[in-house]
Symmetry: C2
Amino acid sequence: MTLISEHDTRERILVEAERLFREIGYRKTTVADIAKMLRMSPANIYRFFDSKKAINEGVARALMGEVEETAHAIATGAGPAAERLRELLISVHRMNSERYVGDSKLHEMVEVAMEESWDVCVAHIDRITATIGEVIAEGAATGEFEAPDVPMAAMCACTAMMRFFHPQMIAQCATKPGPSIDQMVDFVIAGLAPRGKSVSKAG
Amino acid sequence: MTLISEHDTRERILVEAERLFREIGYRKTTVADIAKMLRMSPANIYRFFDSKKAINEGVARALMGEVEETAHAIATGAGPAAERLRELLISVHRMNSERYVGDSKLHEMVEVAMEESWDVCVAHIDRITATIGEVIAEGAATGEFEAPDVPMAAMCACTAMMRFFHPQMIAQCATKPGPSIDQMVDFVIAGLAPRGKSVSKAG
């Protein structure tokens, strides 16, 4: 019973923090603001999170967790690997765009998380890369893809999508010339296609 | 004669500006500083560049021009297209790393150029992309590559390299997990390899 309500309190703090970050911005939100909205003492918040940075990490982890869940659901769905990979890559782009670029206040939170809590970002990138790897491995098993080194292929596919995945790059490149998300996904999927067998290496 | 010496003065201003940007940083350097070092009046500098922004664009264009020249020299060299493309992509990465990341003062100048003079950056990216396209077109002509749409393939190859080309991404990712430049180039070149002909689409 105590455990459940402690979990609930933790969740309530994160939900309220996210709401305030969206409404007035990350930098302007104080732990006292969050406490006041929840009608609790700042001391109580510090029982759950030892700093505003820890609250930000919790909010960032929850937002990133939703993207990871969506990616996982697509990866374990039905259909050809290439189609699932396409849907996965486009969904990560769309969710990151909506979360971090459409909402400029949340973007501030993400920037701080990327400066202060890079390990949270790295863990997220690792999980998305692993999920991409699952789809690539399935495609390689059926002959749809050719990927002798699946983790490497997944890491490169994820890196190739940086313009469409990385919050700062999404924001910076949104109005700049470049490939569309569909064209970029085509290129990545082409990189995973089985090679022609009769082509000898030049040189 | 007048034209030559005007050209020389322009060059001298750019060389001195770059030296000061490297030494004391872009933001701290004033047009008066540049004028003083060259023993000329600020008014004379304004005859050639109507603002510090214009000087920065001139310096940025010169630095980017060197990368473009190196890329062009590699593209028009001898050897299989894949080898030239590899050398080109690695050279752009190495030059951008040295220029904009190894030298943190110059990095400041680049950041300002990317904020204030994005068209200069776009023109540079266009030229590098066009040079990549030349190599891809040659590879496609000999059957070394498969690229039905060369400009699109070049744009996607360039975009896929963002982690290794973009000054901010080079700086941010230098110590982060991810593929090496060689592994990333392998992935991009794999994306250009001729497809297997007998593989039917699953689905």
